[in-house]
Symmetry: C3
Subunit: 199 residues, 3 copies
Amino acid sequence: MNILYILDLIGTAAFAASGAWVGVRKQMDLFGVLVLGMVTAVGGGTLRDLLLGDIPPFSLKDETYIWIAVGISLFVFINRTRFKAFETPLLYFDAIGLGTFVVIGTTKALDFQLGWLGAVLMGVMTGTAGGVFRDVLANDVPLILRREIYASACVAGGGLLVLLEVVDTDRTLAALLAAGTVIAIRLLAIHYDWALPKS
Amino acid sequence: MNILYILDLIGTAAFAASGAWVGVRKQMDLFGVLVLGMVTAVGGGTLRDLLLGDIPPFSLKDETYIWIAVGISLFVFINRTRFKAFETPLLYFDAIGLGTFVVIGTTKALDFQLGWLGAVLMGVMTGTAGGVFRDVLANDVPLILRREIYASACVAGGGLLVLLEVVDTDRTLAALLAAGTVIAIRLLAIHYDWALPKS
Amino acid sequence: MNILYILDLIGTAAFAASGAWVGVRKQMDLFGVLVLGMVTAVGGGTLRDLLLGDIPPFSLKDETYIWIAVGISLFVFINRTRFKAFETPLLYFDAIGLGTFVVIGTTKALDFQLGWLGAVLMGVMTGTAGGVFRDVLANDVPLILRREIYASACVAGGGLLVLLEVVDTDRTLAALLAAGTVIAIRLLAIHYDWALPKS
């Protein structure tokens, strides 16, 4: 589980950066940038833990997550005039985070005896709800409800993980395959500019 | 309790349709429409369960609710070019759902030993918070904070239910009277275009 | 604890008035004004209790808080044409509430064995999340993410309280010093129009 923890922290950092960067672009002050970074980084997993009843949530049990989110947000704020250069590499780290968060969320929901639809939902929520909170606080319609393949990658990864669990696949292997699926779909979607059908 | 469960599922379907329809009108993609449908349908009861400490919430314990929400949202998305014709009948089903949700929420809060103000609040929240989440995600000021008699119908129904409980009325009778009150006020308000005083 | 309870109720009233007043200015109807008043008054502490696992939250255990919020919101609504005169005195009561809420939140988090970063966060959240909910419902970017010294006063007060706890200061004294710090910084910030660096 050590590598999963490291990937989790990388994802936390990437999500915090994306949140803080929205705060900067919305001309928030330092506190606003910190809040957006933290909420984006730990919001999804925190909501999942509230719904599963694992309280206090992971983000209050292991303070590493919040320290990383605070540190990265501060870094983004300080380097805000040249952060644009980080936008593209950030997309790759964000994809890694997304895959990791979905796997962690889905697995945890299965451990808490949720049904398979609920488990997939918890995985998707772990990966996406932080970004939704970020956009609501920034007074935008959440990006994820409007654009390209982002949540769909989470649904595919979470669904695959549940399927592999049902057929009793080794958990480490299943986690790797599911996270890989999310990351691959996400990167392909960025590269080929894929999108879901729109209303 | 069988009829209450059936009414609950009807309400869930109606609320999901109203949420999905907002997603369509906001030009969200398929995922956005599904999220708005689900959140509108189960958001109020889920928040109630978090506050009462009944975790995991009903929506993760019995997956029927989410399957219905997903199915109906999909239906709305697929039929989006001709869904306008459903708007008026939807108002009636929405009123049935509202009455049912208020009764279920208030009753549950009483079972959890809340005081009567808290119980009415939980009933109103069960009926209305899903729509508030829907509007926040769609980046609108929640409809319910601005317009006609909607929440007021919930307050009346929840208040009546608490009153009937205090005077020890049979629970089935009380539920019927309270739900009927919500539905009647709501339909009269639509018909006569009633509204609360505005700021 | 008696004086802390009284200060808590004063803060609840001030926060409810600020929420209701936003509802009035956004032309909400009576129900909207009541919801904004309640959410602003008890939203922060309620979220804190959900995260700490103290459920049902304080606002549903002791109905005094919600009765005060409802009463004050009603008062603001009825007197909406002349409430502008109360805006300046309200700032002082709001500062008292802020200091009290931060102290209560931080102390409670320490009692629940949170780490010190978590405890400060819970204190800040108790003081500020209600206002964030208010602004999200009113479809604004939360004031607190953009403007002057408000959250920073909470961070300072919460941090001081944790520090005093670590060096084993008497709790009543620590609470007084921390609340005083929040209130003093807040009032000085209003007076001298201080602000954090902006993006």
